[in-house]
């Protein structure tokens, strides 16, 4: 009995000594700053900063070579924290959010064929350029929903991708996932956007979508500072954005392709402004 206790205790003690020595001898030195930064980061590993995961970015920032304000999902709070750890002044960029520039859901836009197959936009796009007749419209099969690490995207009951402006952190994952390039980055402070992605001429657009931009220039005429029309598609000039003027232009739009997200999300969406 005593022999067993002693021998087991001895083995335990010996192992403890070996582990203790090894821990001292082979200790990996981690920059305390790196650890502090990693703790401050959101930990979504989204890659918006351009580094492989949060730890990659933390290491890069700790080395002092990299701008501490690259974490868009973290927003102002995280940037300030990292700047404090690094002892530099925080420069917070205007927060950006992604917007699906299309309102042509299955009620309002025509399909050129019925698609039955893999529910993935990239794959559908390989079949005759996608089922939607409009060459730029949202296919609504949800490739962006899968790509979003923050659960900020939903497909509405009418088959259109919609992004929650509150949940979106601006990591741009959906932008690169979308095969039709219909998702664009916009300043979070601006709530009025042109929700169309078709550069086709007016009559063509009317042929396949009830709510597409026909390039009529009425918004531009109402608010020259806020709207530009290029290649038959209107766009908001975010540099000179002004909420009141933007709304004035929006009210002139004959197809209602301009939407103020403060008024609500597209039809069928469960998101609330």
């Amino acid at each position: 009995m005593i022999g067993a206790v002693l021998s087991l205790g001895g083995i335990g003690f010996l192992a403890a000594v070996i582990l203790g020595v090894a821990a001292k001898k082979f200790a990996v030195e981690v920059d305390p700053k790196e650890e502090a930064i990693l703790n401050a980061l959101p930990g979504a590993n989204c890659g918006a900063c351009g580094y492989p995961g949060c730890s990659g970015y933390a290491k890069a920032v700790a080395s002092g070579q990299v701008d501490p304000s690259l974490c868009t999902p973290g927003g102002k709070a995280v940037v300030e924290k990292i700047a404090e750890i690094m002892g530099v002044e925080a420069v917070v960029a205007e927060p950006m959010v992604a917007v699906v520039c299309c309102q042509g859901d299955n009620q309002k836009a025509k399909d050129k064929y019925k698609y039955i197959g893999v529910q993935d936009c990239v794959t559908a796009q390989m079949l005759a350029g996608g089922p939607k007749d409009c060459p730029g419209g949202c296919l609504g099969l949800g490739t962006c929903v899968v790509a979003c690490p923050f659960g900020a995207i939903e497909i509405t009951s009418q088959g259109l991708a919609v992004i929650d402006r509150e949940k979106c952190t601006g990591c741009k994952k959906c932008v690169s996932a979308c095969p039709r390039k219909v998702i664009k980055m916009t300043p979070k402070s601006a709530s009025v956007h042109v929700l169309c992605n078709s550069h086709d001429k007016g009559p063509q657009v009317k042929g396949y979508c009830q709510i597409g931009c026909i390039g009529c220039q009425l918004c531009k005429r109402a608010a020259e500072e806020v709207y530009a029309v290029e290649n038959f598609l209107a766009a908001v000039k975010y540099d000179t954005y002004d909420a009141e003027k933007a709304r004035a232009g929006m009210e002139k739009c004959p197809t209602k392709c301009i939407r103020d997200f403060a008024d609500g999300y597209p039809e069928g969406s469960t998101f609330k402004p």
Binding site: K112, I116, V118, M126, L127, G129, P135
Partner: protein
């Protein structure tokens, strides 16, 4: 006699009886008809238009010049006025550059075209003629023929294999060509043999065409060309499977037929090569089968490149009932067309129409692990496993499972009891793998 075959595959009902006994008819072209000639009818760089709106072109005249080695010129299929050079709806359902010609009804040949005796030409001169005539693989893949005939120095070619298998259901175009114009095919084979410097040429024909086997065997006798009868099994006409069936050689994973000393050409391509070299006729016509349950009168037609599919169907008595699906090519590997306005191209081996009720509309179910797709796969990969990985975005895993070896024959999708669009997942995986390799 034991029929040769490959491992894997399946046998869908071939439905060839609808058109196999019908002689090839010429699809008429009236004055004022529009021909939409796409500038990208081949694999490789699209050709560049060298005519402009208002020009008058003659039949056989070059209207677009090739860009790069893997590219071929495009020719006017008839004489008439160029009414526009603009993007038009193409085979893939998207708008692609095209030359639109309004036929003058005269069908005047370009007088600069002339044939030559292949015996007096060098191999390079023959290859130049083949390229200038715009010859591409007529089986449907439309790979430029002159590229296939130019293997690198270190690859020794000792077999020329002719594909007369036509394993796709419904299609009977190659079958009719073999029956009606065997001399043209054999002339082309002799030219191809000379270019490649090979002694051995084998024509592979599926056993469901006994008349073609008999006729070709008789016609080839004493001319150094063998005819191999093959078991009726899809995809017997796929390049790698055909090589295995006829020679017992296997093309290595990721390799090309030339890696095992073979060059495969379609019988239609051989006939086109003969026309191009001996008579100077460029590739402006081809044989296509118009068939399917929604066609009033299935037929084999000699069509002009650029004729809208609708014209072909009209000549076959039009469509009956509500159209459910239009397929260009065969039902297994062909592409669904968006509308009948799409023009015929050099790869249009068939136009199939199916009625609304025949189109499968049920969504995909869960995999029941039956293994049918694995048994059917002629490339020996695991379609269901790759589809599963692709669904989860695990592209590296899909690559490790040799997704790139998929020949896209569609056997797995055909046999799947759960209606999983496996081929689509495979294509998705291949696309993602290619994109990934390009990035690295």
């Amino acid at each position: 006699m034991e029929l040769k075959t490959f491992k894997g595959g399946l046998h869908p009902p071939d439905n060839k009886a609808w058109s196999e006994k019908k002689a090839i008819e010429v699809c008429p072209l009236a004055e004022g008809d529009e021909l939409v000639i796409l500038l990208s009818q081949h694999i490789g760089a699209p050709a560049e238009a060298c005519v402009k709106k208002g020009d008058f072109v003659k039949k056989g005249q070059v209207i677009a010049t090739p860009k790069g080695f893997v590219s071929v010129p495009i020719h006017a299929s008839t004489s008439g006025e160029v009414i526009s050079v603009e993007p038009r709806l193409g085979t893939a359902g998207t708008k692609v550059p095209a030359v639109v010609i309004k036929a003058d009804g005269q069908d005047t040949w370009d007088e600069n075209l002339s044939g030559a005796d292949p015996d007096t030409l060098t191999a390079q001169e023959i290859k130049d003629r083949i390229r200038d005539a715009g010859i591409v693989g007529m089986g449907g893949a439309t790979f430029p023929t002159h590229v296939k005939l130019s293997p690198p120095e270190d690859k020794k070619i000792d077999h020329l294999i002719l594909n007369g298998v036509e394993c796709e259901p419904y299609l009977t175009a190659d079958h009719r060509l073999m029956l009606e114009d065997p001399d043209n095919i054999i002339g082309g084979i002799l030219i191809l043999k000379k270019v490649l410097g090979v002694e051995k040429a084998i024509i592979g024909i599926e056993a469901n065409k006994p008349d073609a086997i008999e006729l070709m065997t008789k016609a080839c006798a004493g001319r150094g060309i063998e005819v191999g009868a093959l078991k009726v099994q899809y995809p017997q006409g796929a390049e790698k499977q055909l090589i295995y069936a006829l020679t017992g050689r296997e093309v290595p994973s990721g390799g090309l037929p030339m890696d095992c000393g073979c060059v495969v050409q379609n019988v239609g391509t051989a006939a086109a090569v003969n026309d191009a070299v001996r008579r100077g006729i460029p590739l402006i016509e081809r044989i296509a089968t118009v068939s399917g349950s929604a066609v009033n009168e299935p037929k084999n037609l000699r069509i002009k490149i650029g004729q809208p599919l609708g014209k072909l169907v009209e000549f076959c008595g039009g469509a009956k009932g509500e159209l459910g699906k239009i397929i260009q090519g065969g039902p297994m590997m062909g592409m669904a067309a968006v509308s009948l306005d799409v023009p015929a191209t050099r790869g249009t081996s068939g136009v199939l129409l199916f009625s609304e009720g025949q189109v499968l509309k049920e969504p995909e179910g869960p995999c029941v692990r039956c293994g049918n797709c694995v048994r059917a796969c002629p490339a020996f990969i695991l379609p269901t496993e790759i589809a599963f990985k692709t669904k989860k975005g695990m592209i590296d895993e899909a690559e490790k499972l040799n997704a790139m070896d998929c020949i896209e024959c569609g056997s797995c999708t055909y046999i799947c009891p759960a209606r999983i669009p496996l081929i689509q997942y495979l294509r998705q995986a291949k696309g993602a793998i290619i994109a990934k390799r390009r990035k690295v």
